[in-house]
């Protein structure tokens, strides 16, 4: 027999505790960041003694060029990403292109390859002078370089290819939710396929496309990896790389970096809020949330043309980059002219035997294992509190948990760096800080994945167990956890992968005794040869791919079980 009163107090206590801990992890670093951005005295002083807005004014006076670069690159990348995403989404959801399901799965690969690996690969393919394209051009008699990836367009191109996949996902979701009868009635009235596409499909998915554009643009503003690899050699700085650069200067200008980071955060946050409002108001849901059986249009012989468009994308975003990295990593001096190639495994041997590299890889994998395991347990608890309990204040918890999503990784890394430099607990420069940072930035990813599974499970499955006489613990053990198992595994793997490839936050938090793999790859690219870097990038990619294969297995098993 439960008596009502004490239960309410217990709930309040739980809520407060959870809010306190999550708030400490998520909000405290941001508060430190705000304070530092207003520091106009000695940048290393803590707490700051002189306050002012000079750091913000400097953005417009001294870094105007950087802001301009950021805008140009983000606009170019967004336009390319949306064009690619729309074309592919239309082909794969509305036409009978051959091999549709296989192609659709391939579309996810560029995202898993990560922009860092993509940028390195394209540096190999289209770098000036020694890039593969230029080598081939000269081999057939050309004299000047014809390709240069170290340009505004080059950076945008890599961003669009490897970070723009979200545009495809969002646009194809809105196309899938459109009733095919709307198109069919246009055909019945006598419109051609092209006319139907332009007069019915396009206007109907336009809101979805607008939403995707806004979202992708915000992402591109905060993008770091491509600009770091491809921008710095050509001295093209964007905001994220400028932040990075000002912390490397001596003395490091944390005030300046904080002001830029916060400005970037505010702009991105505003855009994401606008995006969310658009989605929520319902004006932008296409027709209805009902799922329709897809009835693709028969494209006849055109279908093969559409197929080659998809194939071209896969080639540019997956096949060529991987092939280029493979070739490079297996040679003493990278060349695409096979008669001059000197094949060797030396780069892999070096990568795996070189102390720092091996430690970095080992650290990354250990961090991935640890953060994924501990994280999944805590996140499951959070998901249960947010979506299944009656706790008051669970909305606030959800908001806090999702907050890191709105902060560019790099800015969050900077905030954590500054916070833990000044909190008198000695975890700065250790793997513990990295673990804490990873856990915090992975919160939205993990909670969203787990919530997706929890929401799929009909509440009555749990209620029925209670009605049958099971206590809460027995119900959890026999019904809830077994049903959640595939979802928990999937979340674990996603977090593991995200940890192994993490760059933005790691770049700031890595210490000489706590190296991780992604920043080490960037360092290798800057200091040693492309060949070694390529080998390291492939080792990292291979680790992610193994996890990915397991993930697909799990996902397939999961859909089978729940059908």
């Amino acid at each position: 027999m439960g008596v009502l009163r004490p239960r309410i107090n217990g709930q309040a206590l739980t809520t407060l505790a959870v809010l306190g801990i999550v708030g400490f992890l998520v909000l405290l670093p941001m508060i430190f960041l705000v304070e530092e951005s207003l520091n106009v005295g000695d940048p290393m002083a803590f707490p700051p003694v002189e306050f002012g807005i000079a750091n913000y004014i400097a953005i417009f006076e001294e870094d105007f060029k950087t802001v301009w670069n950021t805008l140009i690159i983000a606009v170019m990348a967004t336009v390319m990403a949306i064009l690619i995403g729309f074309t592919l989404a239309w082909i794969l959801t509305r036409t009978n292109v051959p091999g549709r399901e296989k192609l659709e799965r391939l579309m996810e690969l560029p995202y898993y390859m990560t922009p860092l690996v993509g940028a390195l690969a394209w540096a190999v393919i289209a770098g000036p002078k020694s890039g593969f394209i230029n080598q081939m051009w000269k081999a057939v008699g050309g004299t000047n370089d014809i390709a240069d990836i170290y340009t505004h367009f080059g950076i945008a191109w890599v961003m669009a290819l490897f970070e723009g996949t979200v545009a495809f996902v969002m646009i194809s979701a809105s196309m899938k939710s459109m009733d095919p009868a709307l198109e069919e009635s246009a055909r019945v009235m006598g419109a051609s396929k092209l006319r139907t596409m332009l007069t019915v499909t396009l206007p109907l998915v336009m809101p979805g496309v607008m939403g995707a554009s806004l979202f992708v643009f915000a992402e591109m503003l905060g993008s770091f990896a491509a600009a770091l690899v491809l921008g710095i050699p050509g001295r093209i700085y964007v905001i994220t790389t400028a932040i990075w650069d000002s912390t490397l200067a001596y003395p490091p200008d944390y005030g300046r970096a904080s002001a830029m980071g916060l400005s970037l955060f505010i702009v991105m946050f505003a855009m994401l809020t606008l995006y969310r409002r658009m989605i929520r108001r319902g004006t932008f849901t296409t027709i209805s949330g009902k799922a329709f059986r897809p009835r693709p249009m028969d494209m006849g012989r055109m279908a093969w043309v559409l197929f080659s468009v998809c194939a071209l994308y896969v080639a540019l975003a997956v096949v060529f980059p991987i092939a280029a990295l493979l070739m490079t990593s297996l040679q003493r001096f990278a060349t695409v002219i096979l008669s001059q190639a000197q094949w060797t495994f030396a780069n892999y041997e070096v990568a795996l035997s070189l102390g720092p590299v091996r430690t970095a890889l080992f650290n990354s994998i250990m961090l991935g294992l640890g953060v994924a395991t501990v994280g999944v347990v805590i996140m499951s608890l959070l998901v249960w509190i947010i979506y299944r309990s009656q706790l008051r204040g669970r909305g606030a918890i959800e908001y806090l948990v999702m907050f890191p999503q709105a902060v560019p990784r790099l800015v969050f890394g900077l905030a954590l760096l500054w916070a833990w430099l000044n909190i008198p607990i000695g975890i700065y420069g250790t793997l513990w800080l990295l673990a804490l940072a990873y856990f915090t930035v992975m919160l939205p990813l993990g909670v969203r994945t787990l919530a997706g599974v929890v929401l799929q499970i009909d509440k009555s499955l749990e209620e029925c167990a209670r009605v049958c006489g099971a206590s809460w613990g027995y119900q959890m053990r026999t019904v809830t956890l077994p049903l959640l198992k595939p979802g928990i595994l999937a979340a674990w793997l996603l977090i593991f992968m995200a940890c192994v490839r993490e760059l933005g936050a790691s770049a700031f938090l890595m210490g000489p005794n706590a190296k991780v793999i992604a920043p080490s790859i960037v360092n290798a690219f800057a200091t040693s040869g492309t060949e070694l870097t390529a080998a390291m990038a492939l080792i990292q990619t291979f680790t992610v791919i193994v996890a990915l294969v397991i993930l697909f297995r799990v996902a397939r098993g999961m859909t089978k079980e729940l059908q």
């Binding site: 009502l4 209620e463 029925c464 006489g469």
Partner: protein
């Protein structure tokens, strides 16, 4: 049926500032089949879930076999699993990660029965719903009708005295629904289960219940046997929602007389004590004859439209008291335009509460 099994008193359930159930009281006798009937959003499912302990009421009390399960004045609420009731869910809630056997055995295992007892009881329950041959099948590989049967077997396997049904047949197709109705009724009688049954299907409610409660916007409109509800609807809502009826406007003129619009006086009965402000009577479409009968209310009219439905024929008759819908057996068909005398007994002309 003389002994009260469930007693619900002044039950109030709120969602935020919305009141889903607003002061509902009723009792269910031992072995009785009671149905909560109403349109979606009327509070019937919420009432049922409150009995199960899945919904936290904000007022009133619920007692089962004399034991307090919920009481707002005592601030007491018994956990769902300790109430000893069983339930069949609208979505069936068959656990997809277990076999049919494990699903049905769940309640028995919770009650720590011996292996042998579990085996016997599960088989007995599966026999009752003719599903024994599928005991080892994974639950995710069942059709809708089969899931329905497994859910039923699971709900009765641990011999509960009270079973709650939340629209259990609403996801089945019409034919299967009619079959399951017959089986459910038989099973409930044979096992002597006390059943509280929620549905929005008036036909189903009338067919399988001992008593029906018609609900609307969180309150009870009428409680009665299916015959009482059908023959003596108390309100316009009940007359309209249960079965099909003609509503005739006019004025109660005292005793058993009603002056209908068009100046025709009808003899009526009332299911309540009239207070003089009544303005409507209801006449079931099935109770109207199209030829004069002695002692009946008689009104002249003309066939405007005939719709042949197969099991019955529906006529629209233009009469002195307005257009009337009449359902007759599909024999002796009348042509459109034919003159008729509409005739119905005063017993079937029910004065509605204002």
């Amino acid at each position: 049926m003389s002994v009260t099994r469930i007693e619900v008193k002044d039950l109030i359930v709120r969602y935020g500032d919305q009141v889903a159930v607003n002061g509902v009281s009723f009792t269910v006798g031992r072995g009785e089949h009671l149905t909560l009937l109403g349109p979606s959003g009327c509070g019937k499912t919420t009432t049922l879930r409150a009995i199960a302990g899945l919904e936290q009421p904000s007022g009133g009390s619920i007692r089962i076999d004399g034991q307090t399960m919920y009481d707002s004045t005592e601030r007491r609420s018994v956990q769902t699993e300790q109430r000893g009731v069983s339930m069949v869910f609208q979505s069936y809630a068959i656990w997809p990660h277990m076999s049919v056997f494990d699903n049905v055995a769940y309640g028995l295992r919770v009650r720590k029965q011996s292996k042998a007892d579990i085996q016997t009881n599960v088989e007995r329950a599966l026999d009752l719903v003719q599903m024994r041959h599928l005991a080892d099948r994974g639950a995710s590989k069942l059709s809708g009708g089969q899931q329905q049967r497994v859910a039923l077997a699971r709900a009765i396997a641990f011999s509960p005295t009270v079973v709650l049904f939340d629209e259990p047949l609403s996801n089945l197709d019409a034919k299967l629904r009619a079959e399951m109705r017959v089986e459910l009724r038989e099973l409930q009688r044979r096992l002597g289960i006390t059943a509280v049954y929620v549905t929005h299907d008036q036909e189903e409610a009338l067919a399988i219940s001992d008593r029906v409660i018609v609900m609307n916007v969180g309150v009870i409109e009428q409680i009665g046997t299916p015959e009482e509800i059908y023959n003596r609807p108390r309100s316009r809502f009940v007359a309209d929602f249960v079965g099909s009826a003609n509503l005739i406007k006019g004025k109660w003129t005292g005793d058993d007389l009603f002056l209908a619009e068009g100046g025709v006086t009808l003899k009526v009965v009332a299911s309540h004590k009239p207070h003089g402000r009544e303005t409507e009577v209801a006449v079931r479409t099935a109770y109207i004859e199209l030829e004069p009968r002695d002692g009946d209310n008689q009104v002249p009219g003309k066939v405007r439209q005939r719709l042949f439905h197969g099991d019955f024929v529906q006529y629209v008759i233009d009469s002195a008291i307005g257009p009337l819908i009449v359902r007759r057996p599909p024999i002796n068909l009348l042509e459109e335009g034919a003159p008729v005398t509409v005739s119905f007994s005063p017993e079937h002309c029910v004065l509605l509460e204002a």
